[in-house]
Subunit: 221 residues, 2 copies
DNA sequence: CCAGTAACCTACTCTGAGTAAGTTACCACC
DNA sequence: GGTGGTAACTTACTCAGAGTAGGTTACTGG
């Protein structure tokens, strides 16, 4: 098997096992078995258990990033960027629950003084949101933009975790909560105030329109 | 040494070691040594390494909860509740960096199907915020209140982590970012709209007033 | 047919979680 | 002032699983 294919396979299996058992309970032996190879191979490719987890997380993050970015690219208005980005984010989590379960384990590898590669990923994540805020509110000082960016990322993550225990809340609902929340929070900082209430997706029909949040929020898909 | 004292001591040392080394690298042996006892004692008291971490986290959370609640109790207006709560939260993180480092490790113990006790802690955390939102916006449906609560908690956590790499951002700054953000997000849902811009602390002088966020946000303490 | 090398394996070591089976220290009670 | 009882503690293990040393197969170009 080619090196690249083997690597992909190993990451697939690692993702599976880490998601099923959690980092601690996952054994390198088991991951190796599922790949049909022996343990030292994993060490050859990834150096350590941490290395394997990190690589798997990095890949998932990249996919998530890509999915979100692609969705945002299709948007027309600023509101639409926010809405599509949020929706894509939550839909990705639904579609890739294994990746999601793994992303939750990031603190594991981040907590020692390991932060090197994490730093880069973090910057990538922020890189998606910060420019939007900066564009919408050009007068806002840099630190405030950064802080708001972190606030939004943290909020998304926590809301995604919360959804695990609330399966009745659709990705659509979650995206609406986030969009509504952040949009209202931001609008006082907008340079050229945008009309209308919370941003509505202007994609024709299909996705429904997130009207005012005080209305009943549950619309089962 | 009395059982209660010993337990306290063990939790203190565990907190120290977990914070210094991270969960993985922390060894039960070392924690025991620092307590001047042998390993089986730790197992007698806490059952397992997980148990010890969980107990330590629970204690820290309780302290954080208590500090925040106490601060909120001293508030007069709804805005003031939000402001004081946020400020107390970030100040606690500054003052108890060890607890904080440990709280970050929670996912470790939460990721398997361990969520039982975590659930309770989570509810406690939410219990501080949800009632405020519900009081401010009585028309808001329950699920939306819950979602907003999670959004705010997630935002706070992430902002606290972000501050680790940005020591120039004071607790005061962070509280102001959060207060400004959430207040603006909420005001469109307020039953009886509150006047004024983002909430300002009406504590006489000492703490400074978080005026408009577009102003320079850094005020070194 | 024979290097040379890439992919892979067997068979270990070693650290650290968790435990079994004791030992000491102290107290109540007669 | 010994004696049963028990709480607090220890030594000395087992055992799983991360990580490694050193060899074996299998395919390539010459």
């Amino acid at each position: 098997m080619s090196r690249a294919d083997r690597e992909r396979q190993m990451l697939d299996m690692a993702e599976e096992v880490f998601a099923e058992r959690g980092y601690r309970a996952a054994s390198m032996e088991e991951i190796a078995e599922r790949c049909g190879v022996s343990k030292p191979m994993l060490y050859e490719y990834f150096g350590s258990k941490d290395g394997l987890l990190t690589a798997a997380i990095d890949r998932s993050k990249a996919e998530l990033y890509e999915a979100t970015r692609a969705a945002m690219d299709r948007a027309t208005t600023p509101q639409d960027v926010v809405w599509r980005g949020m929706l894509a984010y939550f839909e990705f989590m639904d579609a890739h629950s294994r990746s999601f379960a793994m992303l939750l384990q990031e603190p594991l590898v981040a907590t020692p003084a390991t932060g090197e590669a994490i730093e880069q990923t973090r910057r990538q994540q922020s890189g998606l949101i910060a420019p939007i805020i900066a564009a919408l509110a050009p007068e806002m000082p840099r630190p405030a933009v950064e802080a708001y960016t972190e606030i939004i990322i943290g909020a998304c993550e926590r809301l995604a975790v919360w959804r695990l225990r609330h399966p009745e809340v659709t990705a659509h609902d979650a995206a609406r909560y986030m969009t509504d929340f952040t949009w209202n929070a931001m609008r006082h900082h907008l340079q050229a105030p945008v009309s209308g209430p919370a941003p509505a997706p202007d994609v024709p029909g299909s996705e429904g329109s997130p009207d005012d949040l005080t209305g009943p929020p549950h619309r089962r898909s």
